[in-house]
Amino acid sequence: MDPSEVEFLAEKELVKIIPNFSLDKIYLIGGDLGPFNPGLPVDVPVWLALNLKQRQKCRIVPPEWMDVEKLEEIRELERKEDTFTPVPSPYYMELTKLLLNHASDNIPKADEIRTLVKDIWDTRIAKLRLSADSFISQQEAHAKLDNLTLMEINTTRSFLLDTLNCMYKLRSNLQPGSSGGKAQDHQ
């Protein structure tokens, strides 16, 4: 899976916008949107919000969690806990990227938010690497990780799977005859 595909999925998330035009309900396959009243908040998918924003047809209201204080809390919690903590949105990284890239003027303290989200992301990726490392080094057969987002899984998937495959091949080549492979592998 490509990161852009994950981003594409994230664009389905709803976000509040304040339109500056007036339009009746629009009927789409995915559901009805609107009606759009100038000055009145309305929920639309991110893709539409960004499109309207680019045409200067709306103002985007940042999601509730996109707030310096809340993110700071999350960051602290994330650093404190060894396991993954629940994130405010399953697409927090994508949404932050999208919204901050296209509508940073509508988001107060955009830079701080960007940094905070990056911090959270880094912390989580570090944890992910660490757990992958211990997974491999301990030669576990399976592991369970909660609260991972799609994007996070996606970053490690291709590499991890390939690596595991590769290691498997190496190991099976290493000792074609021996049966107690694993214990020796380790050394």
Binding site: K16, I18, N20, F21, P38, G39, L40, P41, Q56
Partner: protein, 1137 residues
């Protein structure tokens, strides 16, 4: 005890705080660990003035307009008060000062510091310092002897010392406190307090008690304690009179003792139990302000010692002062034995003299005996000398304990203690935030936002439109200093107050203008300031300080101006409507006395609401005024209650929502920006902890639902009732809109009607289920005929035969009405029509006039027929026409009859008689003769009527036809005038009479059997016509729109069905309106007739004049008559029946 603890409010960030009052007691001043000093006008002050004095403020003191603060930069600074400008540094320490205090005169300041030193500094020469050394730990608190001789200090070393200031020596010292190494670690702040005035006592909080030490002897003379106080006392404060001592403890307990009796007279607990660390007594007593370590500010109000500080205080003191309750009070008072009064009697005379003059002999040891008088004295000591005299008497009375309370009361309380006038609220723009803010919203409405910036770099106005299709955003430099603004789809209107050199200006940016000049400006006359302004469609209005409301066209032409009955509060415009709210008078006890006027411009100019009182919630003020997007007036008061004008209920205001119900916190508010009836939305901005939003971050609009405050809305029944009436109320605007000639959303309207009927049916089913058959019938009466048949089916299916029977009677009655009274067609949309009449009153009346004229023509033709056919019944119009004709003829001709009194009589008789005659005839409405006539009439009418087909159906239809042409053009028709002149006069009268009769008739109709009923109905029809004719125009259109295929009779049936659903009240109001209208019409017609006569009369001018006179007489007679005639008529009707 009657002390009232007001809810705490957030003042500073968490940490140590301090509080004091200014000299006059007008402001509460607090400081906190956020480094700010805040000046509060009251506890409810949403926008206290902030002065930043440092990183942290440990203590503050205020006297003579000099604010002294101990800040974290180790200095003691001076600021001016209330401006807050820095005024130098008083002194410095090597570490921060912990407590500072003024002496009584304000000439010196004492400061204790963490560097173990106490400094006494002269205010006017900070070089003159006296340093008191001797403590071996940080100073906790300092206090001056009111006589300026001594100074007491408490320190973390556990000692409380008294110093002789001049000699800078320690006089005495008591090891009373627990030792600690820093203020932060001290168990208690141990704020000392020296008794004011008498200066006899020094109060020292020690653990859970307060110890009192006597001046000079320095011996402990008493201890104040409270059984409930389990935690150490932090601060103490004397009441200004020196008789009471308040203390705040670590656990948040506030206690007030009467020092003489050592009794606890007031006990309150902090609402969250936080540590009280600041305590100040209002300079007039009666109020204690306190702060806690969480940065919150609270006020304890209504304490016994004041009678002037606030209205609540006043009221509470009054109760206390009333001699009758006085004794009770003391009986209640804690543990005071009953026999106390006796001892008091003996003791107090001796003490009285001193007591009154001064408090010199006030010794705590006196004990309870003096309690009462002391208490009393205290109550008044804050007031003037006159009071004291009264006081004497009272004390005497009290001592003798014989004087009847009433007698004592009169001389006792010369001070006015009645309701206090409320300061009138200032003029404001709805949708703006306060003008003193540097960044503010000057207007936020459904069109856009106007923001004003007024800071060092920039003085500008930003205009932004919600819908960028209206106009692009604008940025204006605000060189004139505009303070008020309004915004519409056409223009931006700005105004600034006048200055010494410049007059107040009104500036309009008319961006929708098609020429190149987009701007105009008007100077107001000298000394007249714009206070409020608004924009409508094609006009602008400005209310000025000269109590004048000036109208301008949007292009800048000056139009009408008129005087306002009082100072304006705010004005709002929408379309052709102008809503003005002004002060009707002075409100009392927190109430505002506001009046409201609703004016309608356009072709029919008139006043819809004539300065009636605006119904606000108790003790609230107006906070928003405007129109819904659909044009219904609406306002919100400071309690958050939204009220909507109910045009179908005599222009009463109906509460439709309480925005405060949706608030989470107590100090949260919703700031209204717009109201929509369809969809039902209240658009507002949630404001956390304030009444209005800041400009940044940009606030987001939230949508609140409407909710009528009906009873028991948790039950299913209540919910449905609420829904039904909400739907009825919020769809009133259709009627108004159509009456004022706007296009309406027919689909939405019919949908609303459907929804209402569905709700009725649901309620019907529910009450059936609950075995409430009577209620079911009541509900059925609100239904249209179609739905009633459904209800019958439902009832019979659920085996409620009795109910079904009643319903079928009801249905029958409705059907009868339909057939008998075609006019009811018009009633189809009764609610709507009502509203129309209200709003489009003048219009409709003019239309009515036109109708009348037509009908009169017809009638004239018909007359012949009538005479031939006798009492054949016509449709309403026919009847009306007849009556009119008969009445008219005399007048029209200007014959001898008109000038004399008799002439009105005959007319009236005819008016009365005809209805009945006709009605008898009407019973057989279907008769061929009637139809013939009708057709005849129609033939004549045909030219005007649009639908020839309709003619055939019935007289009622013809009536409609006649009306229809008039309906569409809203303006009255000039053509008709000439023709109708003859008829005009009569019609109005007839209408009046009919209208009056109606109620009686209705009753008759309902009670009587069909045959008698029909006449009654006829009468009603006539009435309707009178009212109806106006109405019909509208109805017809609607009916046709709804049922294009229906034939006239069917249409009528349908109409009747709908009419039936109207409540009796509705019908009544309808008839009343008809009356009023007819009156108007009558006047118009008279004039017209006069003209005609002038032209056509062979008798010449003199006669014409005569006739005019007669007309005038007649009209006046009519005006007087209504009641008489109605009585007569009803009597007549009854007799007949």
């Amino acid at each position: 005890m009657p002390g009232e603890r007001k809810p705490m409010r957030y003042g500073h960030s968490e940490g140590h705080t301090d509080v004091c009052f200014d000299d006059a007691g007008k402001y509460i001043v607090t400081c906190g660990s956020d480094g700010d000093v805040r000046i509060w006008e009251s506890l409810d002050d949403d926008d206290p003035k902030s002065i930043n004095v440092g990183e942290k403020v440990y203590s503050l003191a205020l006297k003579n307009g000099k604010l002294v603060t101990a800040a974290s930069n180790n200095t003691v600074q001076i600021h001016t008060f209330p401006e807050g400008d820095p005024d130098g540094i008083l002194t410095r320490f090597t570490t921060n000062a912990t407590h500072i205090t003024y002496n009584r005169s304000g000439s010196r300041v004492a400061a204790g510091s963490s560097d173990f030193m106490v400094k006494v500094v002269e205010m006017y020469d900070s070089s003159q310092q006296k340093t008191l050394r001797g403590h071996t730990a940080p100073i906790l608190s300092v206090t001056f002897d009111p006589k300026d001789e001594f100074l007491a200090s408490a320190s973390c070393d556990g000692s409380v010392a008294v110093w002789k200031i001049e000699e800078q020596t320690q006089v005495t010292s008591w090891p009373l406190l627990q030792k600690s190494n820093d203020v932060i670690n001290a168990k208690s702040l141990c704020r000392l307090a020296w008794q004011p005035k008498a200066a006899k006592l020094l109060a020292i909080p020690v653990e859970t008690t307060v110890q009192l030490y006597q001046r000079d002897s320095w011996a402990q003379v008493g201890t104040l304690s409270d059984d409930l106080g389990t935690q150490a006392i932090n601060v103490v404060a004397w009441s200004p009179c020196g008789k009471f001592l308040a203390a705040g403890s670590i656990g948040g307990l506030l206690t007030v003792w009467d020092v003489e009796s050592k009794l606890c007279v007031e006990r309150q607990t902090h609402e969250k139990g936080y540590t009280v660390c600041g305590l100040a007594w209002h300079p007039l007593g009666g109020q204690i302000a306190y702060t806690d370590t969480e940065g919150c500010l609270g006020v304890l109000d209504g304490l016994s010692s004041s009678s002037s500080s606030s209205s609540t205080t006043a009221s509470s003191t009054t109760t206390k002062q009333a001699p009758a309750s006085y004794n009770d009070l003391f009986d209640d008072d804690d543990d005071r034995p009953m026999d106390e009064g006796i001892s008091e009697g003996t003791c107090s005379p001796a003490k009285n003299p001193g007591d009154e003059d001064d408090d010199d002999d006030l010794i705590p040891a006196t004990g309870r005996a003096r309690n009462r008088s002391a208490f009393l004295d205290d109550e008044n000591s804050l007031d003037t000398g006159s009071l004291k005299q009264g006081l004497d008497k009272f004390v005497d009375d009290d001592d003798s304990a014989i004087v009847p309370p009433a007698a004592a009361a009169a001389p006792l309380w010369p001070v006015y203690d009645g309701p206090m006038p409320t300061p009138p609220q200032k003029a404001f723009q709805p949708g703006s935030t306060p003008a003193h803010l540097m960044h503010r919203f000057m207007m936020w409405n459904s069109v856009g936002i106007v923001r004003g910036y007024n800071d060092d770099q920039d003085n500008a106005i930003d205009v932004e439109f919600h819908d960028t299709a209206v106009h692009h955003a604008m940025h204006l430099t605000n060189s004139l200093g505009h303070t008020v603004a309004d915004l519409s789809q056409e223009a931006v209107l700005l105004a600034c107050p006048g200055t010494d050199e410049l007059a107040s200006k009104l500036q309009c940016l008319h961006f929708s203008s098609w020429d190149t000049n987009k701007e105009w400006m008007v100077d107001l006359p000298k000394g007249e300031d714009v206070q409020a302004l608004c924009l409508g469609q094609g006009w602008a209005a400005a209310a000025t300080s000269a109590l004048i409301l000036r109208l301008f066209s949007i292009g800048g032409v000056q139009r009408e101006l008129f005087s306002l009955p009082g100072p304006v509060v705010c004005i709002a415009g929408h379309g052709e409507q102008l809503l003005v709210v002004y002060h009707r008078g002075t409100g009392f006890d927190g109430e505002q006395a506001l009046g409201v006027q609703l004016l309608q411009f356009g072709q029919k100019r008139r006043q819809v609401i004539h300065g009636e009182p605006l119904p606000l919630s108790r003790k609230s003020h107006l906070s928003w005024l405007g129109f819904t997007a659909e044009g219904t007036p609406c306002f919100i008061d400071s309690e958050g209650v939204v009220r909507l004008l109910n045009r179908s209920l005599g222009n009463m205001w109906t509460p439709v929502c309480n925005t405060r119900d949706n608030c989470k916190g107590k100090s949260d508010h919703y700031w209204m920006v717009g109201v929509h009836e369809n969809p039902q939305q209240l658009r507002c901005i949630p404001c956390k902890g304030s009444r209005y939003p800041p400009t940044l971050p940009r606030p987001a609009v939230a949508v609140l639902p409407f909710k009528l405050p009906l009873c028991q809305t948790t039950t299913e029944k209540g919910q449905m009732e609420e829904q039904y009436w909400r739907s009825v109320l919020l769809h009133n605007h259709y009627g108004f809109l159509s009456s004022s000639g706007y296009e309406i959303d027919e689909e939405g309207q019919s949908q609303a009607q459907k929804e209402q009927q569905e709700l009725l049916m649901k309620m019907f089913a529910l009450s059936c289920k609950l075995e409430r058959e009577f209620r079911s019938v009541e509900l059925a009466e609100l239904m249209t005929q179609n739905v009633v048949t459904l209800a019958i089916r439902y009832a019979s299916r659920s085996r409620r035969m009795a109910l079904a029977q009643r319903l079928s009677d009801l249905a029958l009655e409705k059907a009868n009405q339909l057939q008998g009274e075609e006019p009811q067609e018009e009633e189809e949309e009764e609610p709507l029509q009502y509203t129309r009449r209200n709003t489009g009153y003048s219009q409709s009346s003019s239309e009515m006039g036109a109708d009348r004229q037509h009908s009169s023509h017809r009638q004239a033709q018909e007359e012949v027929v009538d005479e031939e056919q006798g009492q054949e019944e016509h449709m309403d119009e026919g009847d009306v026409a007849e009556s009119k004709r008969q009445g008219l003829n005399p007048f029209a001709k200007g014959t001898a009859a008109s000038p004399e009194k008799p002439s009105p009589k005959p007319v009236s008789k005819e008016g009365r008689v005809n209805p009945f005659k006709v009605s008898s005839g009407l019973g057989r409405s279907g008769s061929a003769g009637g139809q013939n006539r009708v057709t005849n009439v129609l033939d004549s009418m045909m030219l005007s009527s649009k639908k020839p087909t309709a003619l055939l159906s019935s007289s009622g239809s013809t009536g409609k036809l006649n009306k229809t042409p008039f309906l569409k053009p809203l303006a009255p028709r000039p053509k008709t005038k000439t023709q109708s002149t003859l008829l005009h006069m009569n019609t109005p009268k007839a209408a009046n009479k009919k209208a009056v009769e109606e109620p009686a008739v209705c009753r008759l109709k309902q009670t009587e059997a069909p045959p008698p009923a029909s006449p009654a109905e006829n009468v009603e029809n006539k009435k309707h016509k009178s009212g109806f004719q106006l109405w019909l125009e509208d109805n017809r259109r609607i009916i046709l729109a709804d049922n294009p295929d229906l034939e006239e009779t069917d249409v009528i049936k349908e109409a009747i069905g709908r009419f039936r659903t109207l409540s009796a009240d509705d019908r009544l109001t309808w008839t009343e309106r008809a009356k009023g209208q007819s009156g108007d019409v009558a006047d118009m017609k008279k004039r017209k007739r006069g003209e005609e006569e002038n032209r056509g009369d062979k008798n010449g001018q003199s006669e014409a004049d005569e006739t005019r006179q007669s007309e005038a007489d007649e009209t006046s007679a009519k005006k007087k008559k209504p009641f008489d005639t109605s009585a007569k008529l009803s009597a007549f009707a009854f007799n007949k029946n």
